[in-house]
Amino acid sequence: MTESTITRELAALEDALAGRPVDPEFADLDDLVAALREERPEPAPAFTAALDRRTSMGFPRVAKPSRRRRSGRAKWPRMALPALGVAASLLLAVVIAGPSLRAGNDDSGTSGGGTSADTSASGGSSSSSARDSDGSGGSGATSSSGSSKGAPAPPSSGQSAPSVMSPLPTPAPPPSADGRRRRSVERSAELTLAARPSQIDTAAAAILRVTDQVGGYVVSSTVSSRSGGEFSLRVPERRLQEALSRLGRVGRVRSRTQSAQDITAVAVSARERLTDARTERRSLLRQLAKATTPNQGSSIRRRLRIVSGQIAAAKRDLRRVQARAANATVSVSLVAERGSGAPSDDDGAWTPGDALRDATRVLEITAGVLLVALAAGLPVGLLALLAWIATRRTAQRRRERALDAV
């Protein structure tokens, strides 16, 4: 059959369907169309009436279980699916991004001059406690943190430092129940603060005031108006964190480094030397009491003088070691920096500028989280889309197969 014949027959069909005259050559097609129309199944009036009613009511849900429900497949509300998808993507993003974010923060904490965004610094960490408690003599620990652009904390949060989070050494644990001696740890910290040149003096005064308020003292200080200064401070070890936190609010923290060195061995050595010398002195005194000759007495007295000197030296050493453990050394460098955050005095005032910086930082973090979520969610969404397309195509193929199987 030629293509033109096919075309003409199709045209004749369309004419017959439209009620137009049909070429006599294709009269049988006209009859066929009429016969097919006569064979058209018509719905029963009862059915159409019932369907009309259901349509007029907007197809109310029937209470009886549908085939799908009978087959055990739960029917999720359509509105819930997108929400579930978004929630799953966000959860996945958090799971994926969480460790990397934490790792990133840890990394930034070890680089001086970085841009750490963390805002908590009070108190010590359990890791540092463990390090202190199980460390043997001579082992030191150092922690440092980068600078921060964070704004000073609100006045109410007296415990929080402006923008640095680092594992801080904690005071040595108390003597354990089995009577082991508490460890002696010497702590030190270095802090670099930035302030506007016009506020160097104010910042320097704030540093001295904080030192005084935490019960410490200034070993040395050098301040130059509008250019900065250096401070060597000694503060009670148990108030070191408080001091650092409050000093951190004096200006913008550029860097903060803390170190801890176990000096238990040194303390024990000094204590043992003192004990030994005292024991020897008691022994010499007993020998002196029993001496029978003048020569014996003079010899023992000479030895007693030497031992007394050793006792005095051992006491000095012990006191020095105890002082090293009781007071921490804090070195503060105050530098002038144009455009730096205004040194907020010790009162921790929270200015509109601080609020603006906080808001900017929050937006940065939010944008970062969204970016990570997008990076994680995009492949997931793509996979979901592919799965959806594959599912639809599979369902359609099965339908078509059902038609072939009839």
Partner: protein, 189 residues
């Protein structure tokens, strides 16, 4: 013989008008579902009944198809085809789902006409031709029968036919010609 003596003939190109007022949705619908329903109800039934050859199942599938269409009415996109093509696509999926579920072919439940009844010659001839047509339709391959149903019972044009079947319009014409040829051959046999 008067024109009322013979068996009652069905009207063609007549669509029953529902007298029950239809509620409209609260918000302006993207699709005039009421008009679509009124204009397509009997066509959808005719198509599904021809495909399934089971009036009872056709009623269920027709109702299910309209319900699906009602719930998906906001998803209709004019750029993808006419409203009727969209509706018949839904009806086709529902019918195929039914076929899949049954996995069998069902004969139409309508009783065959009694050819032994005494009829005038011309009416008897028509009855014979009608029976031959039914037999030929039943003997068609399901896909060919589906095309016949969509074209002659549901009244779709070739573009709508192509959209429902997922083929090009020219391919739809070719399929239609094949189906008609097969039907003519079956009737002749």
């Amino acid at each position: 013989m008067s024109v009322t003596d013979g068996p009652q003939r069905r009207s063609t190109h007549v669509t029953t008008t529902a007298t029950v007022p239809l509620t409209t949705t609260q918000r302006a619908p993207a699709l005039d579902f009421e008009a679509l329903y009124r204009g397509s109800r009997d066509d959808v039934f005719a198509y599904v009944a021809t495909l399934l050859r089971d009036r009872s199942a056709a009623e269920d599938v027709t109702a299910a198809a309209f319900e699906r269409a009602y719930r998906k009415r906001d998803g209709y996109r004019p750029s993808r085809g006419s409203r009727r093509a969209w509706l018949f696509g839904i009806a086709r999926n529902a019918a195929l789902d039914e076929l899949r579920r049954r996995n069998r072919s069902a004969a139409m439940t309508a009783d065959p006409e009694d050819l032994d009844t005494a009829l005038p010659d011309d009416e008897a001839e028509k009855a014979v031709r009608r029976a031959a047509l039914r037999t030929a339709l039943a003997g068609l391959a399901p896909r060919e029968r589906e095309i016949v149903a969509l074209k002659f019972h549901a009244g779709l044009d070739n573009a709508e036919l192509a959209a429902v079947l997922g083929v090009s319009p020219s391919n739809a014409g070719t399929l239609l010609h094949r189906a008609v040829t097969a039907l003519r051959k079956a009737i002749d046999d």
